[in-house]
């Protein structure tokens, strides 16, 4: 009796299984197509417009061509910077509160609120800031920063909480046993120990808000020139890409592509940085 002789049904099952594995591989290839297509077109259409002037000049009138997105880049940097100055300490504070004071009722409510906050569509955050600030003080870089801060807040808080929770309890107890007050344990032991991980969480949050468009549409609005102060409408890279893309002028569209290239390279570099930080951290841990 031959144990291993397949029946026709076994053949069918075997080849059907192979067929399905092929389908899975095919689906993976399909998922890869957009990434390749997007990268390819952004580089192809955006590369020519990149020059020193792109980073310093303001957009030229469409008929003249040329010009740059210096004002938008500066505006983005200022707004993202302000949002980070506000959002990082705020978010980290909330994250520390959630992980280090677990018995608190407020902590549970906070975690729930943060979860809800992550689900708010970013355009709704823009509307919130519009009514909170813009209605009273007009469009400004400050309003834009506030909107981005609200978007950044739950991301930073969650990553801080998750990272601090990875620290085993006995480390905290060891610190307390030295007679350190709790806040010293947090500031001098927990945060330095998880420093590189915390940084990656923050960097990813910054990358995320740097690409946000919707909440800036009616908070910082836009500006054809360099904004003179923080209470003026200020252009940002994503919003200006949007404006130029729907302008209908070839010259501005080409600027938009270059802007997208800059944005995507920024995001790519940030991700590479985060990866290398995590890689080094892991290696240090393994040693």
């Amino acid at each position: 009796m031959n144990y291993l002789s397949p029946t026709p049904r076994d053949f069918y099952r075997k080849y059907f299984s192979h067929f399905m594995m092929g389908i899975l591989a095919l689906l993976s290839c399909i998922a890869l197509v957009p990434f390749i297509a997007i990268s390819f077109f952004i580089i192809q259409k955006g590369w020519d417009g990149l020059s020193l002037g792109f980073f310093t000049e303001i957009p030229a009138p469409p008929a003249e061509g040329g010009g740059g997105m210096g004002n938008a880049l500066l505006g983005s940097a200022v707004i993202v910077g302000m949002a980070s100055l506000l959002g990082i300490p705020w978010g980290m504070g909330a994250g520390i509160f959630m992980s280090e004071y677990p018995g608190q009722k407020l902590g549970r409510i906070l975690r729930f609120t943060i979860d809800l906050l992550t689900t708010v569509p970013s355009i709704v955050v823009g509307i919130f800031i519009y009514h909170l600030v813009v209605i009273h003080y007009g469009f400004s870089a400050f309003a834009g920063a506030l909107a981005l801060c609200v978007i950044m807040l739950p991301i930073v808080a969650k990553s801080t909480e998750e990272i601090l929770r990875l620290v085993p309890q006995h480390i905290r107890e060891a610190g307390l046993a030295l007679g350190l007050p709790r806040w010293r344990v947090i500031i001098n032991i927990l945060i330095p120990g998880t420093y590189s991980m915390l940084i990656t969480g923050v960097i990813l949050a910054i990358a995320r808000i740097a690409g946000e468009t919707a909440p800036l549409l009616f908070t910082s609005l836009g500006n054809q020139f360099y904004a003179q102060n923080l209470s003026e409408p200020t252009s940002t890279l994503p919003v200006q890409i949007y404006e130029f893309a729907k302008s209908g002028f070839k010259e501005l569209e080409s600027l938009a592509w270059s802007g997208a290239l800059v944005l995507i390279v920024f995001v790519f570099l940030v991700n590479l940085t985060v990866r290398s930080i995590l890689f080094l951290y892991k290696r240090r841990m393994e040693k």
Partner: protein
């Protein structure tokens, strides 16, 4: 031992995890309708060894196998051999009882048959019945066949897993420390079951419990650091081991 028919012949088996050699050139014969126990300290390769006997080892990423395992004159590692067909003839019971989640007791046993294309309700019922009877579980579950398999107690779950394996009428059943997660009473029932099963199938069982090995097995193999130290009749291995390392292990010197 020589008069028995050899069912499973393992020749120069080597198993790797990526480039680490975990089984070093093992050869041994398993006779029909016998219980073979594998003992040895943890990490000695017992589990890897039985996982090589139904080609489960290769399901682990970066694991591979060299050598031959001959089941009834056919090498299961021959290029043309299909692991799916082999696993139907060489069943496996795992350390932790693992009924398929979300499936009823009946479906747990019937799945293997359904995969074989058996659709007729009466045939399925008959086979499920006989498998559960064989696994000494029928009386306990005959009225609750629709309940999820995970609702049973640990010992019952493990017998369900044995019934599930029996349903496809294997000639060999591999058991990887099947009682290590169970209480003593459930353990005893499984041991009785194994002695009973061996009338129809051949059992290769990994155990960390030497009393268990001596109670239920006909032959015992002692593995140490991926090497087969000794393979003997159980009665002989435990009373008069020929290798000093075996003696040290069974007298509790290490492991």
């Amino acid at each position: 031992m020589k008069t028995d028919t050899v069912l499973l012949q393992i020749k120069n088996l080597k198993a790797y995890f990526s480039s680490t050699l975990v089984l070093k050139d093992i050869s041994l014969d398993v006779s029909t309708n016998k219980v073979v126990a594998l003992i040895g300290p943890s990490g000695c390769g017992k589990s890897t060894f039985i996982r090589c006997l139904n080609r489960m080892h290769e399901e682990t990423p970066e694991a591979h196998v060299q050598g031959e395992v001959i089941l009834n004159k056919q090498n299961i590692y021959a290029p043309s051999a299909d692991p799916v067909l082999i696993r139907r003839k060489v069943g496996m019971v795992f350390q932790k009882p693992n009924p398929f989640p979300g499936m009823s007791i009946f479906d747990n046993v019937a799945l293997g048959l359904r995969l074989l294309g058996i659709r007729k309700r009466s045939v399925l019922e008959e086979k499920v019945h006989s498998s559960l009877v064989q696994a000494a579980l029928w009386n306990e579950v005959k009225n609750i066949l629709k309940r999820p398999g995970t609702s049973l107690s640990g010992g019952q779950q493990q017998r369900l897993c044995i019934a599930r394996t029996l349903a496809t009428t294997p000639s060999v059943i591999l058991m990887d420390e099947p009682t290590s997660a169970l209480d003593p009473v459930s353990t005893m029932r499984i041991e009785e079951l194994i002695r009973h099963l061996v009338q129809t199938v051949t059992v290769v069982i990994v155990t960390h419990n030497m009393q268990q090995a001596s109670r239920i097995s006909d032959n015992t193999a002692f593995l140490l650091n991926g090497e087969l130290v000794e393979y003997e009749k159980t009665s002989r291995l435990f009373t008069n081991p020929s290798d000093p390392r075996t003696e040290q292990y069974i007298t509790g010197r290490f492991g």
